[in-house]
Amino acid sequence: MGFDRLTKGFSGLRVLKEGLTGNKGWTPHWRDPAPKPEYDIIIIGGGGHGLATAHYLASQHGITNVAVLEKGYLGGGNVGRNTTIVRANYMLPGNSEFYSHSLKLWEGLEQDLNYNVMHSQRGIINLFHSDGQRDGFARRGNQMIAQGDDAILLDRAGVQRELPYLDFDQTRFPIYGGLYHKRGGTARHDAVAWGFARSADSRGVDLIQQCEVTGIDIENGAVRGVQTTRGPIRAKKVGMVVAGRSSQVAAMAGMRLPIESHILQAFVTEGLKPCIDHVITYGMGHFYISQSDKGGLVFGGDLDMYSSYASRGNLPTAEHVVEAAMTLMPVIGKARMLRSWGGIMDMTPDGSPVIDRTHIDGLYVNCGWCYGGFKATPASGHTFAHLLATDTPHPVAKALRLDRFRTGRGILDEEASGSQHNLH
């Protein structure tokens, strides 16, 4: 990587050395460059996916004349406000290979980035509560294994061994078993954004914060650059990676997307001594939970279920999520919710993302991550970089097409709730 581990790179040794010399040798994780008049590629959106795209453009394709334009601060979107779950337990071909690829990137990410993103493969257990749900999870688990990932079908006793503190006697929907994905887990969300940012910056990518894109310049059906709050910037190619804001940015190019922006809340409790070692999901109540390394129980549930750009939610969903917690694991009843927050989710009709070209030459779109974008961060960046660099879809992302709703081909309705808005 070319990092000098004692003076520039990160390592335990460097932490020791800096500690002994008053921590005076630390330097900025990234520069704050002024925008240049022109770049080869502009990435709109300095969130996890945008920063990852920049990292892989530079590290995999040697393309460094790149700017990431962020209207706020780096990593301030959904990568900085999620429940940090990392998994490769998708069922449908098209999704399955993509997330499998992503998990493999996660597994080498710290070394790739020289940044501890605290990727913790503590295991995910998806609980099921009926024979029908078991059959659905079996289909999923078999796909995961066929894909080369790991899955174990736990029966009730198996779940009891792993999660003895759940309510196995009184809970409203009895636990029949669980699909155990041991390589699933969590990561420190902010660190993911920062690690990608630091790496991209060190390779020469310009990360430009406080720079809002206000227009996309298009001539004769081809993109020429963007207008920003810091002036116009020319570019040969422009990638939109703006999650909940996708429809707004696309509108600058005269496009309408198959996206509705929705609110997803997440919650964290006060710090507690270790009590939950896995990630647990409870499908009957739209509830999932893990415990952060700092001790807070991090949990979430379903969307608030109304269109919104407010980055905040309302009580009905918050209460419902905690109600699910209380029927499944009354053992956490005395924990206290410390903070709640809401992110703007770019919901597609089928609940799966889009990484594709647009009808405008040089304009690319990466959106529709719904409420599952965090685990996709490395693969999203990796495959979007591939598309931007080569103009051909990466093999694991070729199903994530924008036109699938028009043609009906390859609809990726992972949750089987429909390929219509507001069903996911």
Binding site: Q121, G271, D293, G333, K334, M337
Partner: protein, 977 residues
Amino acid sequence: MRIAGKGRIDRSKTVSFRFDGIQYQGFAGDTVASALLANGVRLMGRSFKYHRPRGVLTAGSEEPNALMTIGVGAGREPNVRATVQELYEGLEARSQNAFPSLNFDLLSVNDLASPFLSAGFYYKTFMWPRAFWEKLYEPAIRRAAGLGALSGEADQDRYEKAFAFCDLLIIGAGPAGLMAALVAAKSGADVILADEDAQMGGRLLADTETVDGQGGADWAASVLNELAGMDNVRLMTRTTVTGAYDQGTFGALERVSHHIARPDGRLPRETFWRIVAQRSILAAGALERPIAFRNNDRPGIMTAGAVRSYLNRWGVAPGKAVTVFANNDDAHRTALDLIAAGVHVTAVLDSRPDAQAQGDYRLIRGAQVCNSAGRKGLDAITYRTTSGEDKLATDCLAMSGGWNPTVHLTCHMNGRPEWNESMASFVPGKEAIPGMTVAGAASGRFTLHGCLTSGAEAARDALSDFGKTVADVTVPQADDTPYKVAPLWAVAGKGRAWLDFQNDVTVKDVKQAAIENFRSVEHMKRYTTQGMATDQGKNSNVAALAVLADATGRGIPETGTTTFRPPYTPVTLAALGAGSRGKGFAPERHTTSHAASVAMGAPMIEAGLWYRPSYFPRKGESNWRQSCDREVGHVRGAVGVCDVSTLGKIDIQGPDAAKLLDFAYTNVFSTLKVGRVRYGLMLREDGHVMDDGTTARLGETHFAMTTTTAAAGQVMRHLEFIAQVHHPEWDVRIMSVTEQWAQFAIAGPKSRDLVNGLVETPIDNDTWPFMACGPVRVAGIDARLFRISFSGEHAYELAVPAHYGDALFRVLVKRAEALEGGAYGMEALNVLRIEKGHITHSEIHGRTTAFDVGMERMISAKKDCIGKTMAAREGLIDDDRGQLVGLKPVGAIKKLTAGAHLYSESSEAVPANDQGYVTSVAFSPDFGHYIGLGFVRGGAARHGDRLRFVDALRGMDTVVEVCNPVFLDPEGGRARG
């Protein structure tokens, strides 16, 4: 140390309690913190990262240090602020985050290692070797982190939730809130006054200021007395308004019985309120700021206002020789109150060179405390003036960096507070919460007179919305000396100066974050964890961003703030999820045959919210399969009875009812004759199958629809959508009657014999052919009889008003048994329908099309229907799509499992070779082997093909043959017979 004659505690009632096993005594009215301070206990906790010894910093819910575990056993509660926990007899408090003891904590070694634990250190290390993170580093970090521990036992306490409605919600019952409540209540408004404290009065209880010449606390008591007597006022003590939400909705947590030694079992611990208010007034006061200086975190160092609270409200002097350190006039009152109470004040150190003494005490102007000393509590401080450094022996430092208005609730809907330069603090943004007015110190009106006046003004403003005449209430006289402050955030110098006490974030950390280019306030917060402790930054946010602003050469306003998010103070999960424990999470729906089925020994299983019998065991049967096989045999050979009432039943009436059905279903219903039933398929507008079922025409303008159990609600809403949104011009009415009718399937070759023994007019194949329906009379009751079949047998469904369901079920079972049949449950139902290739939501799981399930011809070409156009998209009618097939085991393993995948025979089990998957399986007693349904690419044309069947999860790898999904009686003769 208790001061005679001071405080609002009841000295006639002593209360015993224990802290870390040692018995202490306090008085009624004490908090754990005040009682411990009275007993000379200063060390109450350890910090999160460095395990530094800590004492109380504050006297309120914002306390970052004195967090304890209260209670024992399952009900013990971690992370309770000792500053708000009211004392009760026998209370057990334990310190947290210390091992083996609070006094001797091994992890305090972290404090020595602090140079290596600076901001963000963990992002830079623990990366090698890769496998060590989960095995070594992370477990060690997790064990060291966290605050208190949960009991590990299921919560057993009672919690409640409730709604309340009012004209005006007043948040905070200090001088501003009380004044607002008085004006609004006297004007006839419906008022809720909520305060987090056990006693209302706010700072009036902690300060010695007078109102209209009487003691502030006495004035508060008289106002409260008056309010308590009014019907239009609800006083909610111990109730924290935790969040502001849309359209005047607030969350509030009432701690109902935390202060009671042995609460009445009927009392909840807490109640979570949803309060809906037309208008609201935020009168939540202000929070005092610490000042960052080297070692400013020792037990004995607390805010100046907290020292006054302990003195005036609880009669406790937190030290024998108290020093005041401030940058504002307000803190001088601490010295005055202490002196008046006979407590020694060593000096008032005021950072302002022009500070004025307000009484007879040693004032050192232009002074800054730059260090402290003392092992587990404060012994001395070092301060600096222009003439150099000096030391003072002192066991309590009352510090004040000024006050921050409690703006938090105004930020809950994305409102941004505004920086006020003269007050050196943020004040609430304008109209941040629709309908909310901010009054008193929360709005930046820091004088007592200002609080009272603004409270009255806010009430008048709110009243104008209700059209009430404002009562004539005179605002009482009180002090109005302006608040003077000169910013002092952090004292310059070496060493660590704490900003965020609990999370151990120091000035150095913030500066280091800035150097590493975490210059955005959000970046700094996330990199250092400042503001992410249990106080959500209440004690540290403003100072930390001031330090950041300084380090980055920006002003405070351009540096901005992080967002305060709900809840204001943490909310117990058991309260937020009250009522949900155990079965409370979702309603339990029972059919009318529930009791009879349970009496027959049937295990009841969940089907959505319903419970249905799995099977009906008989003597000699040792497993479910035996019962299931027998029940299948009853239906195939004699007659079986099954409660099908959980299926959705929708009554549709009106001249345009047939039009509605034609539009909702893919096939035509307007041609259906009265007295006939038809199977129908429903699509979503995206062209995929939504549901299926049968609909009977009971009259020219009257239909009875059935839906699947799972989709009943969805279909009902969908039909209303068509009727109200797409075609409001149609004259049709729709009613869910699922619970009005009990309905039973009577299936098998002897089903007509059974029916004819019941109905008043016997039926035969001519009067009641397959798919006929109509009214019948059963034992003098009007009932409905449908000749429909899910099992493929000659079968009927008999429906009666629900209150006859139990009786009818018992009669049906008895008669079936007499005909050598009996009741059958879900397991047999499933076998029967798989044998017939009938689909359920295992097949129409949301992703399948009419084409996939072989029903594309059911989409009528003669009319439009929901989903028709989109169902014709190229991708939805592709021959390569998975199509419904039957599956038979032909390999060595004779079993099938649902969820297995299918691959080309002898090909590798990888996604590229995937040919489909298995949706439903059953052991068929009729065929003597397992049969299955599934989807196979182009499967309709592949009957007879062999495929590799792989269920890697369950270690199965065998061969299956693709076949017609209708295993039994594909011609359908049995149902017609």
